[in-house]
């Protein structure tokens, strides 16, 4: 299946559910996402909104069963990844599509040296000799700001600080020069003073290696700092997509607006926060119609009956809401 490879990643109407003993969980309800090379797309959502399923399905790491892909396609460089044999997906992982995670302390193997954890990929994917791999690993440690440090290579994860561990994770992810980097809440577990540095690093690496980046986060403040474009996901559906600037300055979807208004800061002192009532629906009990309607201040009768279509409002700004005109 060939398609113009203008976009590095092109997700069309992807729909995934998980079959469990207590019923089906509809994790993704037809999502569309595109990422071009050299672009950072941020996927913003709360827990259970479908962020992780999205990234895992791109990696081919969603276990089938219990998962079932109901429909949709996932084009990477023009090839549909859905239905690819396991062996093919394995060759893509780490080499073409790499991933970094929220808690580097947990996502590094505690009993293997950093050097081994980086070089094993180079040996496997790029057929390097052990010696070449070590040289390459040092080079990438330098790229992520740790210097050409043999000391780091010979360390175990627990001997490094949190910030260093995340840099090691990043070095590991980019060492095979992938075209797509998936960053799943990469700064959430880090101290505030380190977050910005890791964000800057990711932005610089994107430029340097012209990677496409899928940046997953729940934090609009951080996303504003790093993303080129932003998609907001709620209950397994993309509710709004826009350029960074448009999303914040010309917010269309009531959910996005409510999220922005509920963030506390010094300016709102003395006023009550505009909280969003209710709680995030879980994937087993998604409300009918628009998934957000029980919590939405604008909801009308039709919102609970019809699933709103995604409409384009120009400049690549789209939203799925009956009440936006």
């Amino acid at each position: 299946m060939q398609k113009s490879d203008k976009n590095l990643l092109d997700i069309n109407n992807l729909d995934i559910s998980f079959i469990q003993a207590r019923g089906a969980a509809h994790a993704l309800r037809g999502i569309d996402l595109t990422i071009a090379s050299g672009e950072i797309l941020a996927l913003v959502g709360e827990s259970g909104s479908g962020k992780t399923v999205t990234s895992m399905s791109i990696m081919g790491l969603v276990p089938i069963p219990p998962a079932r892909i109901n429909k949709g396609s996932l084009l990477f460089k023009g090839n549909d990844l859905i239905g690819q044999p396991h062996a093919e997906m394995r060759k893509l992982r780490g080499k073409e599509i790499a991933m970094i995670f929220q808690e580097p302390a947990k996502y590094l193997n505690p009993s293997l040296k950093i050097g081994e954890q980086i070089t094993e990929m180079l040996v496997l994917h790029l057929n390097m000799s052990k010696k070449q791999a070590v040289e390459k690993a040092l080079e990438y440690l330098d790229v992520v700001g740790l210097g050409k440090s043999r000391r780091v290579l010979n360390s175990y994860p627990h001997e490094l600080s949190g910030g260093m561990k995340q840099r090691v994770m990043i070095a590991m992810a980019i060492c095979c020069n992938p075209s797509l980097l998936i960053a799943d809440e990469p700064t959430t577990a880090l101290d505030v003073t380190l977050q910005l540095q890791i964000l800057k690093l990711i932005r610089n690496l994107k430029k340097q290696f012209s990677m496409g980046v899928l940046f997953i986060s729940h934090n609009l403040g951080i996303v504003r700092e790093i993303a080129d474009r932003i998609s907001v996901i709620y209950a397994g559906k993309i509710v709004e997509s826009a350029s960074n600037q448009n999303l914040f300055e010309d917010t269309l979807h009531p959910y996005t607006r409510a999220l922005l208004q509920s963030i506390p800061d010094a300016e709102k002192r003395g006023h009550r926060l505009r909280a969003i009532p209710g709680s995030v629906p879980d994937a087993e009990n998604i409300p009918s119609g628009c998934g957000f309607h029980p919590r939405c201040p604008l909801a009308q009768d039709m919102c609970s009956q019809e699933i709103p279509l995604t409409k384009d409002y120009g400049n690549g700004h789209s939203a799925a809401c009956h009440m936006v005109h």
């Binding site: 990696m59 790491l61 394995r90 060759k91 893509l92 992982r93 780490g94 080499k95 790499a98 991933m99 995670f101 808690e103 947990k106 996502y107 590094l108 193997n109 505690p110 009993s111 293997l112 094993e120 990929m121 496997l124 994917h125 175990y156 627990h158 001997e159 994770m169 590991m172």
Partner: protein
């Protein structure tokens, strides 16, 4: 170094407890030794020989010095030095224990890992069946069964006695099966837990083969608790496997100590308890060292 200190301290404490227990329990060992008809002077002579006529503190210091020199006096029944008796029996017990633990590891770890990697598969059921049976069957019964089948009916292995490795194969199988059952369960549980950890997701995300994910990444971490338990089991077995030695009539430590208790052979009991305590502490010490080599997070600083 700190661990070595702990080893010494443990042996010291155990020696002290043994010393106190022997002194505190009612009854004068000299009376027991001398028998009912002994004269007062005979008893005095035995007391002098045992050293129980001296003040407590002197006795204690003498005792520690004896422990240090590995000299527990002479056995009351055979008249031979206690240390000699113990060292004579120890090689057999050591061989039996090591064979038993090696056998159980050879069975438990591969089967446990396969069970964990392919949960609810054929091999997993085999493993579960094995561990259920291994834990339920008493080892002496298995020993008798093996003897009847392989020694009496088919005469593959010798029935009684010792001296060659052939004599030890059936006993170590009987010992090893029960241990293997425990280790198998532990290996499976530990491996299942490691496979659910986040670094395994990273390993998969790096495009590693499943073989690398399982054996290079998960197994090394999964083995840590298994090694600890295997070490403790080895320690137990080194204290002598009384029942198995009895079933196979093996002259090991277990039977020696059993005999000593029956005969109220105080010096032999004392020496035996201290020796077993020392061996057990030493095994623990070795396991600790091994553990820290495998687990970089608790490296000795």
């Amino acid at each position: 170094m700190k661990r070595f200190g702990r080893l010494i301290l443990t042996v010291l404490i155990i020696s002290t407890i043994v010393f106190l227990v022997i002194r505190v329990i009612p009854g004068d060992p000299a009376l027991t030794i001398a028998g009912v008809d002994a004269s007062e002077s005979d008893i005095e002579a035995i007391r002098a020989k045992l050293g129980t006529d001296k003040p407590m503190l002197n006795q204690y210091i003498q005792w520690l010095w004896d422990v240090f020199r590995f000299d527990f006096g002479h056995s009351l029944t055979s008249g031979r030095p206690v240390s000699e008796l113990i060292l004579e029996r120890f090689p057999l017990t050591l061989t039996l224990a090591v064979l038993g633990i090696v056998l159980s590891i050879i069975i438990a770890i591969p089967l446990g890992v396969i069970s964990a990697v392919r949960r609810w598969s054929f091999w997993d059921y085999i493993g579960m069946l094995f561990s259920q049976a291994g834990m339920a069957i008493p080892s002496f019964w298995l020993g008798i069964l093996l003897l009847m089948l392989l020694s009496i009916k088919y005469r593959v292995f010798p029935l009684f006695g010792s001296g060659s490795i052939n004599h030890l194969i059936l006993p170590s199988i009987s010992l090893g099966i029960a241990r293997a059952a425990v280790l198998l369960r532990l290996t499976r549980a530990s491996m299942v837990e490691e496979l659910s950890k986040e670094y395994v997701i990273t390993a998969r995300a790096k495009g590693l083969t499943e073989r690398m994910v399982n054996y290079k990444h998960a197994l090394k971490n999964a083995l840590l608790p298994v090694i600890t338990i295997a070490g403790i089991q080895l320690g137990y077995m080194l204290g002598g496997a009384i029942i198995i030695e009895q079933v196979f009539s093996l002259p090991g430590l277990g039977r020696l100590f059993l005999f000593a208790v029956y005969q109220r052979d105080f010096p032999l009991i004392q020496g035996g308890v201290v020796f077993v305590a020392f061996v057990f502490s030493f095994i623990n010490f070795t396991v600790d060292i091994l553990y820290s080599v495998l687990n970089p997070r608790i490296r000795i600083t």
